[in-house]
């Protein structure tokens, strides 16, 4: 298959205009010894052949997706309204690039401006960037913004022990380029204030995820006070769906918000592309990484939109830029905007409430099973849509039982992330689950518990 439109006559006329005999002559600068290698790739195939191959691979891998599963842990299955993909398929939008020419990109610019507005409302912050790659890289950028505030004098980043382990890993990787250190308390405290003792004059920022990796809410407002008392910044990592009903990080005093936006109308897609949300208070706008769209007027005074404050960015400031980001996740931000516009004022709150009620129903039912404990390490802390089940045996067995009995993903066995949590299973329940789905989950767990509590 080729998408090159040239005919033999085209090539001949063009080569004559250039004044060479053959196209290969244009490559004289390429070292001859290495020019035109023979590449060992499979032979070209037709569109229908490639489509068929990929359909077969996708079908073979779809065993565990017929009904909604209970696996979350940072990527969630929520309902995506039909409006979202209908917009994402518009060629003027998805085949465009960064709107460097605003006069013919008003549509995408306005859509991004509206995204920024809705993210500010959702998070309670003043400024939202146009997008980052995913939640982890948005968090890493937020950490770098916090470090830049003290110009390298403060060198400690304190992270909650209940932060998503893979978010933590990405922050640690980004910090390899700095003189800063990522510290995490060994264990969580009952009051959620375990990070307090690590906060000091050397702390640039404190990272708190709420709901945390285990689905539970953290005392963000109290923590914000302690963090601000030492002159550091609080970076909050919320679940945007939870913000449909819960107090915002802005209400709670967060200085920066970094979040995974995948839950807002984006398919899980085996982990990407997702959406990095980064929002800040006004004070940090000129240190913020990433693109920003601003409102302005045209030569006739009509309202219009442009990329703005670009003097922060790499193409202008080069090594002094706040970040190297160029390509971002603009189309995923558009998906989130269409999603939020479709759900609207009542819809996102409704989704959040459905998640809350259904997950609490599931937790309540599971709590009645012998030997099962909900959120064993912090039973009194509120949770949103995800919770931990302490089991009387290895959690991988429970998750495999759910997978084989119900044909759906059986949650995250936490032994995969933590040595001391082998008997804990992290389950996510969203608006996609019906009461029957949940009852079937509970029945399967009951069967597994009664049949296998002796053997490990």
């Amino acid at each position: 298959m080729s998408f090159v439109p040239h005919t033999g006559a085209d090539r001949a006329a063009m080569l004559a205009a250039i004044g060479v005999e053959q196209i290969e002559s244009l490559f004289a600068d390429v070292p001859e010894a290495f020019r035109f290698p023979v590449l060992d790739l499979p032979p070209a195939r037709a569109e229908l052949e490639v489509t068929r191959e990929l359909q077969e691979i996708a079908a073979a891998s779809s065993r565990l997706r017929e009904r909604p599963g209970f696996l979350g842990a940072g990527s969630y299955h929520h309902y995506i309204p039909a409006t979202v993909d209908s917009v994402l398929r518009r060629g003027e939008l998805f085949t465009s690039y960064t709107p460097y020419q605003p006069e013919i990109a008003q549509g995408f610019l306005q859509a991004t401006f509206e995204y920024q507005s809705m993210i500010c409302e959702l998070t309670g912050m003043d400024v939202s960037t146009a997008s980052h790659y995913d939640g982890a890289t948005a968090l890493a950028e937020a950490v770098l913004i916090a470090l830049s505030k003290s110009a390298g004098r403060r060198t400690k980043i304190v992270a909650s022990p209940q932060l998503h382990p893979q978010l933590r890993e990405v922050v640690a990787t980004y910090l390899r380029g700095t003189n800063a250190e990522l510290v995490t308390p060994r264990a969580a405290a009952a009051d959620g204030m375990e990070m307090s003792s690590l906060l000091d004059d050397d702390t640039a920022a404190c990272i708190v995820q709420s709901p945390n990796y285990f689905g539970q809410l953290e005392p963000v407002a109290e923590l914000a006070d302690r963090v601000h008392a030492v002159g550091a910044l609080l970076i909050a990592v919320p679940d945007p769906v939870a913000l449909g009903m819960l107090r915002t990080p802005g209400d709670d005093g967060a200085d920066l918000v970094a979040a995974e936006g995948q839950s807002l109308g984006i398919a899980s897609s085996f982990g990407g592309p997702h959406l990095g949300i980064l929002a800040t208070k006004q004070a940090h706008v000129r240190r913020t990484a990433g693109r920003l769209v601003g409102e302005t007027v045209d030569a006739k005074g009509e309202r219009g939109y442009v990329l703005t404050l670009s003097t922060r960015e790499q193409h202008i400031r080069r090594e002094k830029a706040t970040s190297n980001i160029c390509t971002n996740a603009a189309l995923m931000a558009l998906a989130a905007a269409v999603h939020l516009a479709t759900l609207g004022r009542s819809g996102l709150r409704r989704v959040a409430e459905l998640c809350y009620h259904k997950s609490h129903y599931a937790a309540g039912q599971i709590a009645t099973l012998p030997g099962c404990v909900i959120n064993p390490q912090a039973p009194d802390r509120p949770f949103f849509k995800e919770f931990v089940v302490g089991l009387p045996f290895d959690a991988e067995r429970a998750s495999r039982a759910i997978e084989s009995e119900l044909g759906v993903l059986g949650g995250r066995p936490l032994g995969l992330d933590f040595d001391d949590r082998e008997d804990q299973l992290l389950l996510a329940v969203t608006e996609l689950h019906t009461r029957e789905d949940i009852d079937a989950l509970v029945a399967t767990l009951r069967k597994t518990v009664s049949s296998g509590s002796v053997s490990r």
């Binding site: 244009l26 790739l41 696996l71 917009v87 982890a136 899980s268 920003l292 939020l340 993903l409």
Partner: protein, 492 residues
């Protein structure tokens, strides 16, 4: 006329979607943790669709017309990619599913790793980086880790030609290293004497884009690599322009240690209005163990460490860590896989050849109207000057004016004012998917604009005349930034 915003169209009580009724008992909500209100727009579903239909009509993509945005490779995005990435088995796959349930997806990733390694001449590839700039940062962190492991932790300098993309120096700072800029010579190559003088014990490595941002192949590339390796440095190839070289040259064969690929350029995954992209990183034998993980490995039945043969996600032994939450932008990986599968080796080479043919054709037909400062056979793009017209009397026009006037002719303007070493640069990249007729129409428009620049420059300075809006006031936008809509309840 500007389009009203979602909030301006909002009417209290409207709703675009209905959600199912609650089928379980209500749990008690934690009153002290609830927010008061959430002011999102209230629209009917038709309102939502019409809104975005209007916005899409106020946008311009490759689908709309010729888009010669230099360095960005705005070529046709095959529609098969959109279909296959949305297959339910891919779109709904959870990144943390048990590996045995996603063997096919891991196989796609494994094959793409292999194919990219073959195309670039590298020993290993990680699909983790989400974009070219993140690929650069990844590579710099790897180079630094490699130098530290080899007792060279004191090295701190990255050499970067003055024609480089801004992401190169920005990535260098993020990696905690410092930049030493190397000038270009009159032929558009990196200056060898300056490079030689800079190559010493302080050098971590060199970042080089080849073809460079002038669209020119570095004529002394082998000497450049030898000089850097000679002082113990590593060479990073910025693969932004690999679309001129796929099937033509394997950078790894020249001794380049690391290079990122832009799947959204060379392998034509759509640019999405600025993203998502994907920036896989290739590494030579000595650096592959430092790649970010996880990457996909195939274990065979003879491999006794594994109970089950098949594909699995592993972390390379000396990995610098993880660059994104999960395994990379799988949606882009599938599209690029389909693209390479459609083309095969011969097709990829054919694309490179025609990309270079198209760019040279445009240069030759435009150079007498728009001066080309480094006028030699170029690769997939070239740079000319846009400050045409009678500059002596202050009546001339700028590169920006030429760009804005092109909009009136129905074309997306080229990249302007970059690379920085050419004043009033217009960086033109036609790509291989554009026909001779399109290129001829573009040439006619450019030549007409050059005439207008001489005869009626004000026409250019006030352009565009045909767009939905006139020229926008960017200074005002930056001076008093309005970065979000004021909510109805905030209005006075």
């Amino acid at each position: 006329m500007s389009e009203p915003t979602l909030y301006e169209k909002s009417v209290a009580g409207r709703c675009a979607i209905t959600l199912p009724a609650l089928d379980v008992p209500e749990a008690e909500l934690p009153a002290e943790l609830l927010r008061d209100d959430l002011v999102l727009p209230e629209l009917s579903q038709l309102d939502v669709i019409r809104h975005y239909q209007q916005l899409s009509q106020r946008s311009f993509g490759v689908d709309s017309g010729f888009y010669p945005l230099g360095s960005c490779t705005m070529k046709y995005n095959p529609r098969i990619g959109e279909d296959v990435a949305r297959l339910p088995g891919f779109a709904h796959a959870h990144p943390l599913q048990p590996p045995e349930s996603v063997q096919g997806l891991l196989e796609i990733m494994h094959r793409l790793q292999d194919w990219l390694a073959e195309i670039g001449g590298f020993a290993g590839v990680s699909l983790q980086p989400a974009a070219g700039a993140q690929g650069e940062l990844t590579a710099l962190l790897m180079m630094r880790a490699y130098q530290q492991d080899h007792g060279q932790g004191h090295r701190s300098q990255i050499l970067i030609p003055d024609s480089a993309h801004g992401t190169n120096p920005a990535s260098t700072s993020m990696a905690g290293l410092s930049v030493l800029q190397i000038p270009s010579d009159p032929h558009g190559n990196i200056r060898l004497d300056a490079l030689r003088a800079a190559c010493d014990e302080s050098v971590v490595g060199l970042m080089i884009t080849n073809p460079n941002t002038l669209g020119l192949f570095e004529q002394e590339i082998e000497a450049v690599i030898e000089l850097v390796h000679g002082c113990g440095g590593l060479v990073y190839g910025d693969g932004a322009n690999m679309n001129a070289l796929a099937g033509v040259l394997r950078p790894g064969d020249l001794g380049i240690d690391l290079m990122h690929y832009n799947l959204h350029k060379t392998f034509s995954t759509p640019h999405g209005g600025g993203g998502p992209g994907s920036g896989p990183l290739g590494a030579s034998e000595r650096l592959r163990d430092y790649l970010p993980g996880p990457i996909v490995e195939q274990s065979t039945s003879e491999d006794h460490r594994q109970a089950e043969p098949g594909y699995r996600l592993v972390r390379p032994p000396k990995s610098i860590g993880r660059m994104c939450t999960f395994h990379g932008n799988f949606g882009m990986i599938v599209r690029a896989y389909a693209y390479i599968a459609l083309h095969g080796a011969a097709g990829l080479r054919d694309n490179s050849l025609h990309a270079v043919l198209n760019a040279n054709y445009l240069r030759v037909l435009l150079r007498d109207a728009f001066p080309v400062p480094f006028d030699r056979t170029n690769m997939h793009e070239f740079v000319c000057r846009g400050d045409v017209g009678d500059q002596s009397k202050g009546q001339g026009v700028t590169a920006t004016d030429v760009c804005k006037r092109l909009i009136d002719f129905g074309f997306h303007p080229p990249t302007s004012h970059f690379p920085l070493i050419v004043p009033h640069a217009l960086m033109i990249e036609p790509t291989e998917t554009e026909s001779r007729e399109t290129l001829d129409a573009f040439v006619a428009a450019m030549r007409a604009i050059e005439r207008e620049a001489r005869e009626s420059p004000v026409l250019l300075r006030e352009a565009p005349h045909q767009a939905r809006v006139r020229r926008l006031d960017e200074v005002r936008a930056a001076r008093k930034p309005i970065l979000r809509e004021r909510m109805p309840h905030e209005q006075e």
